[in-house]
């Protein structure tokens, strides 16, 4: 009885086939597939064509699981057991199609998700690599620009101190303005790449907020006036006189916002408003806002304007590289703030952010702030002796600028070398009061040379003040040069008064 019931279930799933030693089908119960008795089994399916290695197998059993067999229109996924018998081979074919199909669905999902995850990781890696390449390129490129720019800025400054007629003075003013634009563009591009590579750090110190706002009012008041625009600055009376933060980066944020506002406004007003949200303990929350009556931005482009190099098409004739708002966004995020925008096409744009800054007591802040120009002037005028200075610089434009700045003070005998390999010999054989050393030199690096000088066994020589000059503006580079033994590092392009201030700081009176 049980056998009969069992057959209803198992009988349909298992087929028995007997094949003789010649590979001919002798018997088949045809439960799953139809095998012609008397025909070679190799003709049934290629699977059986490859079983020649089983010749001679006796009383052994082999199992092949999950074999896809297609015989005529009949397709099943089966396990095949082959058992060696005296007269040939017994094949037991068990149909597991349903089970294997379910397994296939699971395997499909698993494999697809693994492959997808792998490809995402690879894609991310590729994007990161591209980003790194882009940043490296920008950093190298801006580094290369610093030398010629140093020459241009310095020579322009030197020229402006000479006797010029009105026309020459006008031309020089244009040149100065172009220099400033070029310098700020270079800083912006470098900032973008530094932010992207996480190398940008804030340098917080006390500064006079009103000075910063006055500078902006003066600069952009003139720019707006030249374009026939009205420029309004509205500041809260409760603004603290001094605040503590990264003055340069705040200046960069506001100049980018104001530059854009003036650039994209053809008529009407550009305004800068600074309000106090609240003051608590020694912190103040300030609300900065730049608004214009310009062309505005359509809602679908609101996000786009904050991406690097994504200047909207309709702005194409406006110049610039389209990184201003991207810098603003990145810098504010670094300062723990967020830029917000409201804009209507044809009506104008309002960009605003809140920024929390520390504000020190008036007396403390004042003592933290130096008036740089005066220091130099006082220091220089007090000296009556001449110093021997070694200038190690290979770029002719920078050489010329440095030469002129130093020679104009009439305090130096300057010797020049442009070859790193000769520096040590010069230092040992001469009694210099100070060395101005470029970092990137032919045949040697300035930091390496400094290191060697500091290790020299001659007291006076190894203590000579060394001021590094570099186009590598990253903090990590500057720290490395200081560790090598440089007393101070100045980045290119530099202002004349900053250079002199550093030089006189280390000269013995």
């Amino acid at each position: 009885m049980l056998e009969r019931y069992k057959q209803q279930y198992i009988g349909k799933n298992i087929q028995f086939v007997f094949v003789d030693h010649d590979g001919t089908v002798r018997e088949s119960d045809q439960t799953i597939f139809h095998f012609h008795t008397g025909s070679p089994i190799a003709e049934v399916h290629p699977f059986f064509e490859t079983l020649s290695f089983l010749e001679g197998i006796q009383e052994n059993e082999l199992s092949f699981n999950c074999v896809h067999l297609e015989v005529g229109d009949n397709e099943h996924i089966v396990d095949i057991r082959i058992v060696g018998q005296e007269a040939g081979l017994l094949m037991v074919i068990i149909d597991h199609t349903q089970y294997y199909q379910e397994y296939q669905t699971v395997a499909q999902a698993r494999n697809e998700s693994i492959i997808k995850a792998e490809l995402i990781v690879l894609k991310n890696k590729e994007l990161e690599e591209r980003e790194r390449f882009k940043n490296r390129f920008i950093q190298n490129f801006s580094h290369e620009l610093r030398n010629p720019l140093t020459g241009i800025v310095s020579i322009t400054n030197i020229l402006s101190a000479t006797h010029l007629n009105v026309q020459q003075q006008q031309l020089l003013d244009f040149l100065k303005e172009a220099n400033t634009d070029l310098k700020s563009m270079l800083e912006d591009i470098l900032s973008i790449s530094m932010m992207a590579s996480g190398k940008l750090t804030l340098k917080e110190k006390a500064f006079k907020l009103s000075n910063l706002l006055e500078l902006l009012e003066f600069t952009y008041g003139n720019k707006a006036k030249n374009k026939g625009l009205q420029f309004l600055v509205d500041t809260d009376e409760r603004l603290p006189e001094f605040v503590e933060g990264d003055r340069l980066r705040l200046y960069q944020v506001l100049t980018n916002l104001l530059e854009n506002a003036i650039k994209y406004t053809e008529s009407g007003t550009v305004s800068l408003t600074v309000d106090v949200n609240q003051k608590r303990a020694n912190k103040v929350s300030l609300h900065f806002e730049v608004s214009d009556t310009g062309m505005g931005i359509s809602p679908e482009n609101h996000e786009l304007v904050f991406e690097s190099f994504s200047r909207l098409d309709r702005y194409d004739n406006k110049g610039g590289v389209g990184i201003g708002l991207s810098i603003v966004k990145g810098l504010l995020e670094l300062m723990g703030s967020q830029i917000k925008m409201e804009s209507r096409l044809g009506k104008g744009t309002r960009l605003y952010f809140d920024l929390v800054l520390k504000y020190p007591l008036h007396s403390i802040a004042k003592s933290l702030i130096k008036t740089e120009g005066n220091i130099v002037e006082n220091t220089v005028s007090k000296r009556d002796k001449k110093y021997r200075l070694l200038l190690v610089e290979d770029d002719e434009r920078v050489q010329m600028a440095l030469f002129k700045i130093l020679a104009d003070t009439e305090h130096f005998y300057i010797e020049l070398t442009n070859d790193g390999a000769r520096v040590i010999e010069e230092v040992i054989n001469n009694d210099y009061d100070l060395i101005l050393m470029d970092v990137n030199l032919p045949n040697a690096s300035g930091d390496h040379l400094t290191n060697i000088i500091r290790e020299l066994p001659f007291d006076k020589v190894c203590d000579v003040p060394i001021i590094g000059i570099t186009a590598n503006a990253f903090d990590e580079d500057i720290k490395r040069y200081l560790r090598a033994g440089m007393n101070q590092v100045i980045t290119k392009p530099f202002e004349a008064h900053k250079l002199l201030e550093a030089v006189f700081k280390y000269l013995r009176q």
Binding site: E49, T50, S52, Y100
Partner: protein, 164 residues
């Protein structure tokens, strides 16, 4: 008399083993990925200039990320083998030397050809760098999608097995 030769196609999952066989046997291609479970067996008869033919029985084995897990009965009686990797997925070729060592232990003296597949998805320069950086030796770089070098790889195997 026509010889039958069993050829197994091995490699990690998703490298395009089934697509290579489909391209060679049916000269077709599908972008849709369907996981192979167990084994699919196909056949193609290849003729030579001498008039000689061999029947290539191609065992398309389920892909695995651990080559040691292949069921041994599948490999019994193998005459030739392909190891396929995906040039776009490092996980499929990162351990290629170990994988090949396992295979030569499981199938000593069986001719084995190495195929880097899906070259249509990668730039030739990037591919050269990748192969050099990973120190990968290969016999064929193929694309089942475009058919590039697919037939050549299988015919090379047929030639190797003709006189064996």
């Amino acid at each position: 008399m026509q010889k039958s030769k069993k050829i197994v196609i091995l490699g990690h999952f998703g490298v395009g083993k089934t697509s290579l066989i489909r391209r060679f046997v049916k000269n077709s291609f599908s972008d849709k990925y369907k996981v192979t479970i167990g084994v699919h067996i196909s056949k193609k008869v290849v003729g030579f200039g001498s008039g000689e033919t061999i029947s290539m029985i191609l065992w398309d084995l389920e892909g695995t990320d651990d080559i040691r897990m292949i069921r041994n009965p599948y490999l019994l009686g193998t005459h030739g083998a392909f190891f396929v990797f995906d040039v776009n997925r490092p996980s499929t070729f990162q351990n290629i030397q170990e994988d090949l060592a396992v295979l030569s232990k499981k199938m000593p003296e069986v001719p084995l050809l190495i195929i880097g597949n899906k070259v249509d998805l990668v730039n030739q320069d990037d591919l050269n760098i990748l192969l050099k950086e990973n120190d990968i030796s290969f016999d064929f770089l193929t694309s089942a999608k475009t058919g590039e070098w697919v037939e050549d790889a299988f015919l090379q195997m047929a030639t190797l097995l003709k006189d064996a």
